[in-house]
């Protein structure tokens, strides 16, 4: 790779370029950073772990729901979302958002 006219590369940039060639993992990391520039400086850290510890669908909580309704009364109703989006973060689940949960009373297909 030839040096460009804008000036000599720093030692760091040089090292990074070499890394991309030597390590496929670092090349993949560069790809990821290109797509998600805000990805945490602390990789694999608390974000993953906390998400992991909170696995499970958050369901309807009447307390949260009523609080949210009270707040909403003063604001005009926003248009309903076009598609069913995943319930994340501060979104307060409403009865309409909940998927139906049923016990599987059907026998396992392995037992046929």
């Amino acid at each position: 790779m030839t040096e460009q006219g804008e000036g000599a590369r720093t030692l760091e940039e040089q090292q990074e370029m070499e890394d991309k060639v030597i390590s496929p993992e670092k090349a993949e990391e560069a790809k990821l950073k290109a797509r998600f520039p805000n990805i945490g400086a602390k990789p694999g850290g608390s974000d993953f772990l906390r998400k992991r510890l909170q696995k499970g669908q958050k369901y309807f909580d009447s307390g949260d729901y009523n609080m949210a309704q009270a707040k909403m009364k003063n604001k005009p109703l926003p248009s309903a979302p076009a598609e069913k989006t995943e319930i994340t973060g501060d979104h307060i689940p409403t009865p309409q958002d909940l998927p139906q949960r049923k016990t599987s009373i059907v026998a396992s297909k392995l037992a046929v």
Binding site: K33, G45, L49, R52, Y59, A107, S108
Partner: protein, 457 residues
């Protein structure tokens, strides 16, 4: 259970001058591509004799297969596994306090060694462990004095003689009943259970804690490991798997999301937060990338049957550790190294978080683990040979020998090879099990269970 006591009938995995040869035996489950979530297999486990094979699924159901004892002395024909019992182990529950659903998915099944006519197993979901008794009934009493056969009471005035009821044979009935429910001891999600060699206790591990139970006592459990930091912001690693040593009832190990394994001795102190041994492979800091920690997370840890080694599975490799050497593994096997240059997309589709299990064969000479595209890998430790095989309906003619598969990593793709980009990452083999004595393996694809046996010459 001392492995020296039972005969290891395993024939050598590799033939002199030849490759390992595995044949299709059976496949269980539906053929259709539309997989219901409840049918996703979540655990597979042989019992201590290999006569019984249990599976658990996302719908909370357990299916147990039994090996039919064949009287024919035909070498090519090995007994088949047929359905023995099936029951609903766990139901979906709701944690009202946190407004969270508790999945009924069976995370692990562990068999207890057989003590009497009945069989016992532990099955667990994210929060509750249950001890199930599976018993057979093949006789029923007949000839009661006070009751008719259909249960109606007889008019006492009509009874003129006494008789002794007799037991008459009936069609075999297999009943599963929950004998113990071990609940409310885990704030986080249970990932492992392991029965102690003392046959009295077992451990259960969640993301941050390990608890010790007595099989008879359900209202109490001892916390033996607690890695929860005082401030959750300081959380850096979680427990991913735990297991008791096969012979030493005081020893257990637990693995972490950072790629370390800690061995603990319960004789040292009541709370085993301080490990006796720490197994960690040193890493070259210049090789570190965003993915390093994620792919080093250990998804499974298993002691060898002889108790001298343990095996760990991380995203790309299987490592064998000598319990006497903490500094590095004694053997490392690459499962699918070609995925290293695909980590970005595997991170985006969440596959990088897939938790693969691993298992030993009966005499600890071969290890096995799953991969993508319904491939699974075997590593013959002694002969330094490895194989890639595929569990698919296309190779499911009776006793059909499985052809070794090969993934092409670049350049020219040879005939019969498959390129990395053509791999189906939705077809993952996460759960495999090896018969404790014979060369019979159970391999679970998403919703099917394959049973393979080695080719007997």
């Amino acid at each position: 259970m001392n492995s020296a006591n039972h005969k290891i009938r395993t024939s050598n995995l590799s033939r002199p001058g030849g490759d390992m040869q595995w044949c299709f035996s059976q496949v269980k489950g539906a053929i259709d591509d539309d997989v219901a979530e409840a049918d996703i297999i979540s655990t597979v486990e042989f019992n201590h004799t290999g006569e019984l094979l249990a599976t658990g699924d996302k719908g909370g159901r357990v299916v147990i297969f039994q090996q039919e004892i064949d009287n024919k002395n035909v070498p090519q024909f090995r007994s088949e596994y047929n359905v023995y019992s099936t029951f609903q182990s766990h139901e979906p529950e709701f944690d009202y306090l946190k407004s969270l659903e508790i999945e009924e998915k069976i995370n692990k099944i562990r068999w207890l060694p057989q003590k009497n006519a009945a069989q016992f197993l532990l099955s667990t979901n994210d929060k509750t462990i249950k001890l199930w008794k599976i018993s057979e009934r093949d006789k029923r009493p007949e000839g009661y004095n006070l009751k008719e056969e259909d249960g109606r009471y007889r008019d006492p005035n009509t009874i003129t003689a006494l008789r002794v009821p007799v037991l008459i044979p009936m069609d075999l009935m297999v009943e599963a009943s929950p004998r113990r429910v071990f609940a409310n001891a885990h704030t986080y999600h249970i990932n492992s259970i392991s029965v102690n060699s003392d046959n009295e206790t077992y451990l259960s591990a969640d993301d941050l804690r390990v608890n010790l139970w007595n099989l008879e006592i359900t209202d109490r459990s001892f916390n033996i490991v607690d890695i929860k930091p005082a401030n959750m912001e300081e959380l850096t690693e979680v427990i991913t798997a735990a297991e008791f040593h096969p012979h030493q009832c005081n020893t257990f190990v637990y693995s972490s999301s950072k790629g370390t394994i800690r061995l603990c001795d319960m004789r040292v102190s009541a709370l085993c937060d301080k490990h006796s041994k720490l197994f960690e492979e040193p890493e070259n800091p210049s090789n570190r990338s965003f993915f390093s920690e994620i792919i080093s997370s250990i998804s499974d840890v298993k002691f060898s049957h002889n108790g001298r080694y343990m095996m760990t599975r991380d995203y790309l490799s299987v490592k064998i550790w000598d319990l006497n050497m903490e500094s590095r593994p004694v053997e490392t096997y690459q499962v699918h190294e070609y995925l290293r240059s695909k980590l970005c997309s595997l991170y985006e589709n969440d596959c990088i978080f897939d938790k693969f299990e691993c298992c030993w064969n009966g005499n600890d000479s071969v290890v096995m683990t799953g991969s993508y595209n319904n491939f699974f890998r075997m590593f013959d430790r002694g002969h330094r040979r490895d194989a890639t095989l595929e569990a698919s309906r296309e190779n499911s003619k009776p006793l059909q020998v499985l052809k070794p598969r090969k993934v092409c990593t670049g350049g020219k793709r040879k005939k019969d090879e498959i390129s990395v980009d053509s791999l189906d990452f939705n077809k993952k083999i996460l759960h495999t099990a090896w018969h404790p004595q014979d060369n019979i393996i159970a391999v679970a694809t998403t919703n099917n269970l394959y049973i393979f046996q080695d080719k007997v010459n």
